[in-house]
Homo-oligomer: 366 residues x 3
């Protein structure tokens, strides 16, 4: 009934070292944790290539998807990941919720806890909600894992991990691992200030030793960069400024690897010799608040096209967290070009990575 | 794959005496039926404490949740109960329904019947809808069970049964049964007239031999009490009035136990020496119709606080059907205090009791 | 755990001859294909009569219901069919979708493909969307089946196939097959021009050798008939007109059977000696555009009543795809009369036929 020969033994090492109950942010992820996620996801990716794409790992357990902010794509991906681990799923959506009846978010989470939920996947438009729920679970002394599926402009760790998995799997399908990115150049392009995807990606990619180059509308970027550098300094990181055509920072982290982060005022220096270009979804509501130019202007300045990719390495690949506004962040033909686009692989990676995360979070329970 | 050693034999007696296809109202529930539900739920509660919280009881059967009035909490609880019995579930919600296309409610139910539904869980804002659907199923000669998950201001039997189970399990975890409540004093506080939860609770709690004391805004209560007493008289019950500071009625029912029901014009006499305080959800829409005071006034007059609980027995416990308006029906600190609050236990009980109800309704089929 | 003794061997022949990956239209269905669907559905209908109505056929596969146009009835039917084949299901509904975020329909479909969907069931208010998605799947070289669950005013093949199965099963429960309809007279009544159900039914019923008689509001019918005849001529069919009180066409198809289609300006000649009367759902929105008379007028002219059925054969049966506007397309008492109404059987057939379609679409994969 299940996929045959699932290499559960391969997971043994992974789970024996995994200690994290909640996955809320990548800020303090260690290289070992990244590698554990990558290797566990790799095993599940192999399962998904079979006809029967299901394992009994979480049979009898309940995964509650509490999406206070609605989402089809991410919720479906988590739901499918849970079902393929044989978990039962419960979906909470705000439209039919008790929230309109005055219940607090923590009370909603505690209701699902009391029903017998084993893991909660939380999305909310306010930063910090998954953390608050995780804190409450810990305070109550229950072994319920909380996974941040996107909170405001803060973080979206599973998206960054699937991006990482997509890239590393391309570089070495048999053994995806963090150090494959060492000294690669990765451009992140778009409205970085408002992007929870970007914030999570900055953590994972700089942790790998890659050079991360940010480029986006200049009205927004400096604030981000200043915040980021300040935040690092506050946490005892050492900052070394390098003077060139862009702002940049080499950050020596206590985890003993350099985080290399550059900020560019225009697209070209970010793309130059890049190995990967990560585009961000443009939130249209930003434009109504006059923080961004028109869609047309945006595409002219920051849209990724075949022409612009000529600045990059020849084998450059383009990513996007989806859903894509065709012709805005990426030209339509480029999006569909398998030579450059990893967008479809990202979606596929998403299910494997989310299976890995649910599996690892659940593995500590006994 | 399933919980080991499920004591199915323990259910044998329960199912052999269970004859009810539909669970629509507690008005005519017998003590034996209450005890059967309590003991069956107790067995399932034990299953839910295991790692694999699933039994194959309803494998291949279909439970349709027809929630014409939307609800997250109750629907999720029924959905989880059905899934843990291994049933397949179908969810009907009015937003995406044929009702907007002119189909009648009975036709909707018959459509789900024709698809192969084995049990229907119905919520509707009009009283009597589940009964009407049950009548139609009987008229058609089909063995499909109908469960009332809340109809207008009429009844909400599964909520009252989970309240009962929560209380009885507290009093004797090993053997929850109706007669544990004999001579206990239970206060029900709030907008009783409009509450389907209160109506069902009055049936179950008075059936147990407990003294049930109602307290709520005086503009609403007399009508309820008059109706209730009249309804009893019409059905051949004998009423004995007892004169004290409150209205009250001792009702001798044909089922040979006294139903002791008291009505109070203020909170204090209801709380005095109470063993349990059941608070009701305040429907905010009542306030717009000027039947209730402001939230602040309501809390001052009928909100349950630590201070007010000093009137009760020292080991008093507080219940609420949820979702709670914190600081309105109950003070926020009291709600979170495990010494007094049974709210979280009620939610957990809900899944076990609903598993029991679906199990018992389905047990007659063969 | 599953229904015992499922005659999978009985499906052997069926699947060995089935070559269609997508089910988009009945325009080119062959008699052999109709018979394969009927016989496969018949086997599943037998499974559904058992207590455990589930088979492991599609275990580990994913069926995505992409209902861009919302529907409770059809979506539930497909969802239940998929679950009874043990598939996992994903539901996409436009309310919570990325479409509001600017994603194209093809991109949505490709996202579900990349997640690992094996079959897609598509409903959309524009004709041609399922075909476009199927074309894209083929272009990408993936073996994902696409099923049209209703596209605009174009087709609704699974509804026509369940209608066919309902009729054929009535005529020979043990061996439903297309040629049972040879020379039967079938009336299709209502707003045929706008009905995707009628368009699919015209294909299947004329393919069977039945005489198909259309009757509906005269403002709408001629256009349909003219279009239909022209379309046939364009595809090389030969048209023979027969002059009587109605317009009519005998169409000699390349598939070497005559398609007999008649058009009537009033109800009576269509009903005269009919074996089956298929009524169509009246789309109320048509009336606001002044294409149809009032509901009352419509019922007077085209509503089916017991009285009007006296024109038909004594054993006539009435069908309706649902949901029914009681007292509009059909009188309320007739709808509930098991002597005449097949409406409930249609719903039951729907699950069996949809199981058959998903099974056949999936059978080619390995």
């Amino acid at each position: 009934m299940y996929a045959e020969g699932v290499p559960f033994s391969a997971f043994g090492m992974a789970t024996s070292i995994w200690t994290r109950h909640h996955i809320l942010s990548l800020a303090d992820f260690t290289p070992l944790e990244y590698d554990t996620v990558l290797q566990t996801a790799s095993s599940f990716r192999e399962v998904l290539s079979r006809r029967t794409k299901k394992v009994p790992t979480l049979q009898g357990q309940v995964v509650a998807n509490l999406f206070f902010e609605s989402s089809t794509r991410t919720r479906s991906s988590f739901e499918l990941a849970a079902k393929r681990l044989s978990a039962d799923t419960l979906n909470f959506t705000p439209g039919t919720s008790s929230l309109s009846k005055g219940e607090t978010i923590l009370d909603t989470a505690k209701t699902y806890l009391a029903m017998g939920t084993d893991m909660m996947v939380i999305r909310h438009r306010e930063a910090g909600v998954p953390q608050a729920i995780a804190n409450e679970m810990d305070r109550l002394g229950v072994r319920v894992g909380v996974l941040n599926a996107g909170d405001g402009q803060h973080e979206h760790p599973s998206q960054a991990l699937l991006d990482l998995f997509t890239i590393c799997t391309l570089l070495d399908p048999a053994y995806p691992r963090l150090d494959l990115l060492k000294d690669k150049k990765i451009a992140i392009v778009g409205d970085i200030l408002h992007s929870r995807v970007a914030r999570s990606n900055i953590w994972s990619l700089t942790a790998s030793g890659a050079e991360v180059h940010l480029a986006g509308p200049p009205t927004l970027l400096p604030q981000l960069f200043a915040n980021f550098v300040k935040e690092k300094k506050d946490k005892g990181f050492k900052i070394k400024n390098k003077s060139d055509e862009s702002d940049s920072a080499f950050i020596l982290s206590p985890l003993s690897f350099q985080r290399k982060l550059f900020l560019h005022w225009s697209l070209a220096p970010a793309l130059k010799d890049a190995d990967f270009v990560m585009t961000l979804r443009l939130q249209k509501e930003r434009m109504t608040s006059h923080l961004l130019p028109s869609l047309r202007e945006y595409h002219q300045q920051f849209g990724i096209t075949r022409d612009r990719l000529k600045l990059c390495k020849p084998e450059v690949k383009v990513l996007h967290p989806g859903p894509v506004n065709r012709g805005v962040e990426i030209s339509s033909d480029l999006m569909d070009d398998p030579q450059f686009s990893l967008i479809s692989q990202q979606v596929t990676s998403g299910v494997a990575v989310r299976m890995a995360l649910l599996y690892l979070m659940g593995s500590g329970k006994n």
